[in-house]
């Protein structure tokens, strides 16, 4: 066991998978000697050499597209896009190519790759360094998408992602890269993709979140003093609706919390799923505490945009009082 931050846990998972499987190689901007702009690949270039930790040209479509070729060629590439705001240039290769090859070739060519992308706000970063575009990708058939909320989950989910035979996006909530430490086992372990985690039990209300906002939810729950069941999705595509539905059928109330804009965010999908599976058990309309339907502001106002314990607390009280 070691007491690690989330970014250290990612680093450890990469080291262990690279040692175990020489098909695993990393590519991305500044990930080599520099160790990545967040230091997620710190020391890996020195440890594994330039053939396995590759500083790529500054071209996101190139990173994504060549990773597809590497994967089809029998390797297990782990490309990195430096910030979620730079996924735009890689969008076509990710959604129209990586996500479709298995289907297009009826299983003839697969794309076992793991795309690592730091995501979300709260770190006083410039424009296009703080967004939460995950729902765009959950709307793309053929991709699995995970987002850890803790150092322990980060390691287990990343190992699962790298070993998964499908293309997986591994979103890294940068706000909690170094926010807290947690005991992370040295030994390898996996966390299954597609299964949510019950963070705490409760019977008055179900709260659903993922990534950095899980921490905000925990704060809000603590302050509320109510009996709230918090579900951390861990995997945001496919969503583990069974775990959510089981909980909401028990509590009758549901609040979804995410950083991304409200409209067509994943909260809408979860609300629809709750409507489908828990209709007769609902005591209140499903509430969404989200980012606003605006552009993510520059950092002076970012805390006004991001859901915090206060906004979540209001939704808890209003939903319970309904």
């Amino acid at each position: 066991m070691a007491n690690l931050t989330l970014v250290q846990s990612i680093n450890l998972a990469l080291i262990q998978e690279m040692e175990k499987d020489d098909r695993v190689l990393l590519l991305g901007e500044d990930i080599g000697l520099n160790g990545g702009v967040f230091r997620a690949t710190e020391g890996l270039f020195q440890r594994f050499g330039g053939d396995r930790v590759v500083d790529s040209p500054l071209a996101e479509s190139g990173i994504m597209g060549t990773a597809i070729g590497l994967a089809m060629g029998g390797l297990r590439p782990v490309p990195e896009i430096q910030f979620e705001g730079f996924m735009g240039p890689a969008f076509d290769q990710l959604t129209n190519q990586a996500a479709r090859f298995n289907s297009r070739t009826r299983g003839g060519l697969t794309c076992p790759l793991t795309l690592r992308v730091p995501i979300g706000g709260g770190i006083h970063a410039p424009e296009l360094h703080s967004d939460s575009p995950e729902a765009i990708y959950t709307h793309t058939p053929g991709l699995k998408i995970v987002m850890p909320s803790s150092p322990y989950d980060a390691k287990g989910l990343l190992i699962s992602a790298i070993r998964d035979p499908n293309p997986v996006i591994f979103f890294e909530p940068k706000r909690i890269y170094r926010a807290f430490r947690e005991e992370v086992p040295e030994d390898e372990y996996t966390i299954p993709i597609g299964v949510a985690r019950k963070v705490c039990e409760g019977d008055e209300l179900t709260m659903v979140s993922w990534g950095a906002t899980v921490v905000q939810c925990m704060n809000a729950i603590e302050k509320s003093g109510k009996s709230i069941e918090l579900i951390d999705l861990r995997t945001i595509s496919p969503i583990d609706i069974d775990t959510i539905a089981t909980s909401v059928n028990k509590t009758g109330r549901c609040v979804v919390v995410h950083e991304a804009p409200k409209t067509c965010g994943l909260g809408a999908e979860i609300a629809a799923g709750v409507m489908e599976h828990c209709f007769l058990h609902l005591e209140a309309p499903v509430q969404r505490v989200c980012g606003f339907d605006t552009v993510m502001p520059y950092y002076k106002l970012e805390l006004d945009y991001l859901p915090d314990a206060e906004r979540i607390g209001k939704a808890i009280n209003e939903t319970l009082a309904y």
Partner: protein, 373 residues
């Protein structure tokens, strides 16, 4: 300080057998064994016949949109002839001749255009499925070449695209990755003068498309893409450069599609009849047949015999493509992921997305069952 020239370059154009039948012996003698030339000519006859039949299948409603290959047989065929079995051939959608030479069953191409993904399931040879998104495949070829270099398996990747694709960012990113990371890729641009209705001068205002490769520090060459001998020579040089030096090469092959862009297109809207007539005289098969007849390797009788053989082959291919069992809706679920997630299993089993339909236990009143069904 005086102004100095710090970099100069040139683009060579390679031609061995021109449209008038002139043959450059210095470059061409011994390049391809006679029997291989005969075999490739015979292969082109089969491909040309398949192209004609495919066109008719579309016109008679038996196949969807189809892009005619007629006139562009040489670049991909020459490359397929040079490549080794372990190499990758990563094509666009006008490279039937090369794909078939590598061993792709012809019915797979028909299946693709008949709206059946099974045409893209390829076990026979290292080729990727036809790429519909222009230029997207160049990065895959670059990645495949990278994987081969990493695995040290000695394979290279050869990729095909049109002049229009060189306007796409993915072309530039692929060229940049391949050159900077020392990857064994051969880029073959089939410059047929048109990107659907857009002339090459709107895609590239430089005197040659070939020189685009210079900016990336790779060898570049322009070649008569309707000349089998010249194509074999430049591809062979490029493959050697890739295999021995891990260096990419950019080949601009000048050719022309004698048909429309696809069966949904009418090239008369944008192309001059005179231009088409000029290129019909440059048809790669005319000069090759004349060459073979002059060397007494071919004759009118052999031509007739091969036409009959092509007809038999193509009839059988069409039969295979049309008589394959109908696909089932399970296919599009089962191939989404290597392992089907439970959410998709439900949709697959019920062919419904409505949750009540997927889970009839949600219906509290049994009498309602008939209603939702």
């Amino acid at each position: 300080m005086p102004v100095k020239t710090i970099f100069e370059t040139k683009i060579e154009h390679v031609s061995i057998l021109d449209e008038h039948g002139n043959f450059d012996s210095a470059l061409g003698d011994g390049l391809i064994p006679d029997q291989d030339v005969v075999d490739m000519y015979k292969h082109m006859m089969v491909c040309r016949h398949l192209d004609e039949i495919a066109f008719k299948l579309q016109r008679s409603g038996r196949m969807g949109t189809y892009p005619e290959n007629r006139g562009q047989e040489v670049p991909s065929l020459a490359a397929a002839y040079v490549l080794e079995k372990k190499d990758w051939m990563v094509t666009c959608y006008r490279e039937n001749a090369g794909l078939f030479w590598r061993g792709l069953p012809m019915e797979k191409i028909l299946l693709h255009w008949m709206g059946d993904e099974r045409g893209n399931h390829i076990d026979e040879c290292n080729v990727t499925p036809l790429a519909i998104a222009i230029g997207s495949q160049l990065l895959h070829a670059t990645g495949l070449a990278w994987a081969s270099k990493y695995k040290k398996d000695g394979a290279i990747a050869c990729t095909f695209f049109g002049d229009g694709a060189t306007s796409e960012g993915d072309f530039h990113e692929a060229a940049n990755f391949a050159a900077n990371l020392d990857l064994p890729v051969v880029f073959v641009c089939q410059n047929n003068g048109w990107a659907i209705s857009t002339p090459t001068k709107l895609e590239c205002s430089a005197p040659t498309v070939a020189q685009r490769g210079i900016a990336y520090g790779m060898d570049c060459v322009q070649v008569d893409g309707n000349d089998l001998f010249a194509m074999v020579k430049v591809v062979r040089d490029a493959v050697t450069n890739a295999r021995e030096n891990n260096r990419p090469t950019f080949i601009e092959a000048l050719t022309y599609r004698l048909g429309d862009h696809t069966t949904a297109d009418d090239a008369r809207r944008y192309r001059d009849a005179d231009e088409l007539a000029m290129w019909e005289k440059r048809d790669p098969m005319i000069r090759l047949r004349n060459y073979l007849e002059q060397k007494d390797l071919w004759s009118a009788a052999k031509e007739e015999e091969q036409l009959a053989a092509a007809s038999v082959i193509v009839s059988s291919v069409v039969k295979n493509a049309e008589e394959i069992d109908a696909p089932t809706s399970n296919d599009f679920f089962d191939s989404m992921f290597v392992d089907l997630p439970p959410q998709l299993q439900k949709q697959r089993q019920t062919m419904r997305t409505s949750s009540i339909g997927q889970d009839p236990s949600q219906i509290s009143q049994p009498a309602q069952e008939g209603v939702v069904k």
